[in-house]
């Protein structure tokens, strides 16, 4: 694609994992159809999950996972210093992810119950952007590999990567699904941000909002709908808090 006479670069890319399930990193090795082209487009210099080569000379850092221990803060800050572009990869990095659910509990109790006499170091979960500045975000649990590719294309050649800001319902409709509400199930589709192609409603599961809120979500009406259809506050709020994207939003709370 050199018809504009712009020479593409081959940026040095590093991938780092923090508190997470490493499922988003795994997506980098998925989408097998384009894997070879993907690996040819960039130079991966540091990616512990798949390579023992380690280099501190990189321009783009993909960060997977949230921050939940003091040593991670230091590690993250060092990475930020080195990277020209820092991309938060996945819901944990963007919002804290499911890890954030633990913030609702008292850590020392949890520690005592799980680790007994040997409590482990841990702290309330934070998203990457709460610790260092983030240049780009790829939400999702897990991320959609296509979006990683588009970010890479953008970094290489300025190609457009505008991810949708509209709700999941649009993509759900484009999959010809019967609405989950119609089937009597809860779904965050109307307030959650699209871009995933609605795999959850398509697979028979109401959306959990792993990509965070859509632009300008209509929470009031959403709660009204949930109420009208008989969903308990507890259930709705469990959904909203699930992936950490709807921070501070809860049904039944006076604004």
């Amino acid at each position: 694609m050199r018809y504009l006479s712009i020479e593409p670069t081959k940026p040095k890319v590093a991938v780092f994992d923090f508190t997470s399930c490493e499922g988003c990193e795994l997506q980098l090795a998925n989408k097998e159809e384009t894997l070879v082209d993907f690996l040819k487009a960039v130079e991966i210099v540091n990616f512990r999950e798949v390579s023992s080569a380690k280099s501190d000379d990189y321009e783009i850092a993909f960060i997977e996972g949230a921050v939940s221990r003091s040593d991670e803060i230091e590690r993250l800050k060092k990475i930020r210093e080195k990277a020209r572009v820092l991309v938060a990869l996945g819901c944990c990095a963007c919002y804290g992810g499911v890890n954030k659910l633990k913030n609702a509990f008292d850590l020392s109790t949890a520690n005592r119950e799980i680790y007994g006499n040997y409590p482990k170091d841990s702290m309330p979960v934070r998203a990457i952007k709460d610790v260092v500045p983030v240049d780009m975000e790829i939400p999702g649990c897990p991320v959609n590999k296509e979006e990683i590719e588009r970010i890479i294309q953008h970094l290489l050649l300025d190609i457009n990567y505008n991810f949708p800001v509209y709700p999941v319902c649009v993509e759900c409709k484009q999959k010809f699904n019967v609405c989950m509400f119609e089937k009597g199930q809860l779904c965050l589709g109307p307030i959650a941000r699209a871009g995933c192609s609605a795999p959850c409603p398509t697979g028979g599961l109401g959306c959990y909002g792993c990509r965070g809120p859509a632009a300008d979500p209509n929470y009031d009406e959403f709660f009204e709908i949930a109420r009208r259809r008989g969903f308990a506050e507890q259930e709705v709020n469990e959904r909203l808090s699930f992936f950490g994207g709807f921070n501070g939003i809860a049904m039944g709370v006076q604004k």
Binding site: Y3, L4, S5, I6, D158, I159, N160, N162
Partner: protein, 302 residues
């Protein structure tokens, strides 16, 4: 027994086999086929704007491409996207399409990085134009604010190239500060034309600026307008043309003799994607050039 259904092959339609010609709205054609064009020259105007000269590669297509001042093209950078851009050059300069483009986002951003020789696609021209025929024999006011000089440049060419057809011509142009002035290398040339007055004003002067300072409406103090003998073309941001048109209308210039060019989001240029609708009016086919009376009557226009 089988009933293979009749197979309609659109490629056999006679119309569609004819060359693309976007000014013939009702003909069946490959609506998304672009003319391949080469960026033959790039002129840096300011930090944010560059002037691109485009030359359609195919000679026959180049011959066929004509446009009227005020019309725009859909400029496609394959792989990046397509954007509407007003044609900024002279309608008489066949084969050369001039586009003045501000770096605003993805497509325009990458165009600013492109080098001479780059190949892009264009569809068009689309839209309505400034009615220069009707303006013949009248005083002409050509008013631009900021990037508005880009679309205004086409009528400036049309008027100056056909000087005898028009009476007094006043070009008024205002920007935020002197560094944003577009096409400054052409001012001298315009000024020298007999009966053409160029007035420039900036909102904020710098050390070197010796001209007028203030809002564009301030320039009206310098110009004598005979309301019933005047046609005006106003290009610029909505706030600017609102004030300008309100002034002109107050002194008696009929609203249907003032023309403005509107901008909306566009994805097709052909009245299909609905992105540019204002109320129920398509900016791409009913506009972008509207007379002020129509604009006033469009809900949510300004």
């Amino acid at each position: 027994m089988k009933i293979p259904l009749y197979h309609y092959d659109i490629m056999k339609e006679r119309e569609i086999q004819q060359p693309v010609d976007f000014n013939r709205h009702r003909r069946l054609k490959h609506t998304d086929k672009t003319f391949k064009a080469e960026i033959s020259s790039i002129t840096t105007l300011t930090d944010m704007e560059k002037l691109f000269h485009l030359r359609i590669l195919d000679e026959a297509e180049r011959e066929r491409f004509t446009f009227l001042p005020g019309q725009f093209v859909m400029l496609e950078v394959p792989g990046y996207g397509e954007v509407p851009i007003s044609i900024s050059g002279s309608p008489s300069n066949k084969g050369l399409i001039e586009l003045c483009i501000r770096k605003a986002g993805t497509v325009t951003g990458v165009l600013h990085k492109a080098k001479r020789g780059a190949l892009v696609g264009i569809r068009g021209p689309f839209g309505t134009h400034f009615p220069l025929e009707k303006m013949k024999g009248y005083d002409i006011l050509l008013i631009a604010g900021g990037l508005g000089l880009a679309p205004l440049r086409a009528p400036i060419f049309a008027v100056t190239e056909n000087r005898p057809d028009y009476r007094k011509v006043d070009i008024m142009y205002g920007t935020k500060d002197p560094s944003q002035l577009l096409f400054d290398y052409q001012y001298e040339q315009w000024r020298r034309i007999d009966g053409v007055n160029l007035h420039i004003i900036v909102e904020k002067a710098d050390d070197k600026w010796t001209g007028d300072v203030g809002l564009i409406t301030k320039l009206f103090d310098k110009i004598e307008i005979v309301p019933h003998e005047t046609y005006a073309i106003v290009c610029g941001p909505p706030v600017m043309f609102k004030f300008v048109c309100a002034y002109l209308s107050k002194i008696g210039v009929p609203m249907d003799r003032m023309f403005v060019s509107l901008e909306r989001r566009m994805h097709c240029g052909m009245g299909k994607c609905c992105r540019c609708n204002i109320g129920s009016t398509y900016t791409c086919i009913d506009g972008p050039v509207f007379d002020y009376w129509t604009v006033m009557n469009l809900k949510e226009a300004i």
